[in-house]
């Protein structure tokens, strides 16, 4: 129910007084309401739930955490080799 997926904002417009966007989910385009992320810009990725963007993806944090996870994975692989008979 609380599933939300990342999408890329490709166009911002207004309809019936609401800030809306065309959002690209890997070449599937859907309209998304941006009322709760008024600072969002074209080109940014947002987290979308039932047609509403609920947060803007933090690129810097995403890169940092992925780098950390890759490091963990590399270290474990090394340790695994040491454990091998």
């Amino acid at each position: 129910m609380c599933l939300a997926i990342p999408g890329k904002i490709v166009e911002i417009f207004e309809r019936d007084g609401l800030k809306m966007a065309k959002v690209d989910y890997g070449n599937i385009f859907r309209e998304t309401c941006l009322e709760y992320v008024p600072e969002a810009q074209v080109g940014e990725y947002c987290v979308v739930h039932v047609g509403f963007a609920i947060s803007v993806m933090n690129e810097e944090d995403a890169q940092e955490s992925l780098a950390l996870l890759k490091e963990i994975s590399d270290i474990e692989e090394e340790l695994g080799k040491e454990d091998a008979p």
Binding site: Y36, G51, L69, I72, I75, L79
Partner: protein, 371 residues
């Protein structure tokens, strides 16, 4: 898709699970509160890849599962009216009320429609001025901002034929109820990532202090989930009692302030009955009195409807992490996704449906609390 594919990298997941294996020195019981995470854990087999010391129990974070029976009955009563177009998220249509569900209302000629967004229901109200359009506003904190926006938008457009049937629930009071139970076994919590995207995680430090257990904001992809588990295990092993964030690309401490402000403008905290669990004080949101005109319960006079649960179903104990789905005598026999006795078997996010679908009925029995 960027921000999804890189979090499904099997090699990285394996590496993080290895690290969990090296970190853990004793048994720990963790609860993922969110049904979306339950589904992902069972689907990707994360529960079976973890070291045996880590037991995951599944929480009540599935709004479809915890919507009380009488609210389903109220929805059925409204949806059966000839003057109503009843709009709902798709996963509510098969949830059994007392003997019927929204699909059977539709089969009998009721105008029941699945919508992707609450704004679609507002659009239907605008297009059908001679009909009453009712939207079934269920969900946790994640779904509250979209649901309340439908009311504000209907108000802005001057629509008098739009109302919502509200059954909103909140995560922190549920966590408090679980941890406060004398039979609680949970030692660490994975907090629901998208609830936190809206609400931040400023509500949790007092709970962490009160119950002395760590909590970690966790996302939904396999790598997010194992990262959340690793962080929780690291805190537990180090004896650190704090709230951490393992989903920082989408969540910050304060959360989405415009969304929180809008929720508080339309909703107020109310006592809410959870299906299978019972009343949890101040655990839900309801419409503020100034929005009575948009309150479907009042508009269609269904407030007095009450209902009783099936005595066979142990969903309440499953939703509190006290039992696993395959401990229920009805599991896979009288109760299947095709013929569900309780909501945990209906929704794909319900623990029973996930266990049934991914063949978790043959797991050796773990030692469970007697109650």
């Amino acid at each position: 898709m960027k921000y999804m594919d890189e979090y499904r990298d099997a090699e990285l997941v394996k590496g993080v699970i290895e690290k969990i294996r090296r970190t853990v020195t004793r048994p720990w019981v963790l609860m993922e509160i969110c049904g979306g995470q339950t589904h992902a854990i069972v689907r990707h087999g994360i529960d079976q890849l973890l070291p045996p010391e880590i037991e995951l129990v599944h929480g009540p974070g599935c709004p479809v599962c915890v919507t009380p029976l009488e609210l389903i009955d109220k929805a059925l009563a409204i949806a059966a009216r000839p003057d109503v177009i009843f709009c709902s998220y798709g996963d509510m249509l098969r949830v059994p009320g007392t003997g019927r569900d929204l699909f059977s209302i539709k089969a009998q000629g009721g105008d029941v429609r699945v919508v992707y967004s609450p704004l679609d229901a507002v659009k239907l109200a605008k297009q059908n001025p001679d009909k009453q359009v009712v939207f079934f506003a269920i969900g946790f904190e994640t779904t509250a901002p979209p649901n309340v926006m439908s009311i504000l938008q209907a108000q802005r457009l001057g629509l008098t034929n739009f109302s919502i049937l509200v059954s909103h629930v909140r995560v922190p009071p549920a966590i408090k109820a679980i941890l406060g139970s004398p039979s609680n076994r949970v030692q660490g919590f994975l907090l629901a990532g998208h609830v936190s995207a809206v609400m931040g995680y400023w509500e949790y430090p007092p709970l962490v202090d009160e119950f002395q257990i760590p909590m970690v904001v966790t996302g939904f992809e396999p790598l997010d989930i194992v990262q959340g588990i690793l962080k929780t295990v690291e805190l537990l092993e180090a004896g650190k009692i704090e709230v951490a964030n393992a989903y920082s690309r989408a969540v910050n401490f304060d959360g989405n302030l415009p969304a929180q402000k809008t929720i508080n403008q339309v909703f107020e905290e109310v006592d809410r009955k959870w299906r299978g669990i019972g009343m949890i004080p101040m655990s839900g949101w309801g419409l503020r009195p100034e929005f009575d005109a948009f309150n479907a319960e009042k508009r269609f006079d269904v407030e007095a409807i009450t209902a009783d649960e099936s005595p066979l179903c142990i969903a309440g104990q499953i939703l509190q992490g006290l039992k696993k789905p395959h401990h229920c005598p009805a599991f896979g026999k009288q109760c299947t996704p095709e013929n569900p006795l309780g909501a945990t078997m209906v929704s794909t996010e319900g623990a029973c449906a996930a266990y049934y679908r991914y063949g978790r009925d043959r797991i050796p029995q773990v030692l469970l609390a007697d109650n």
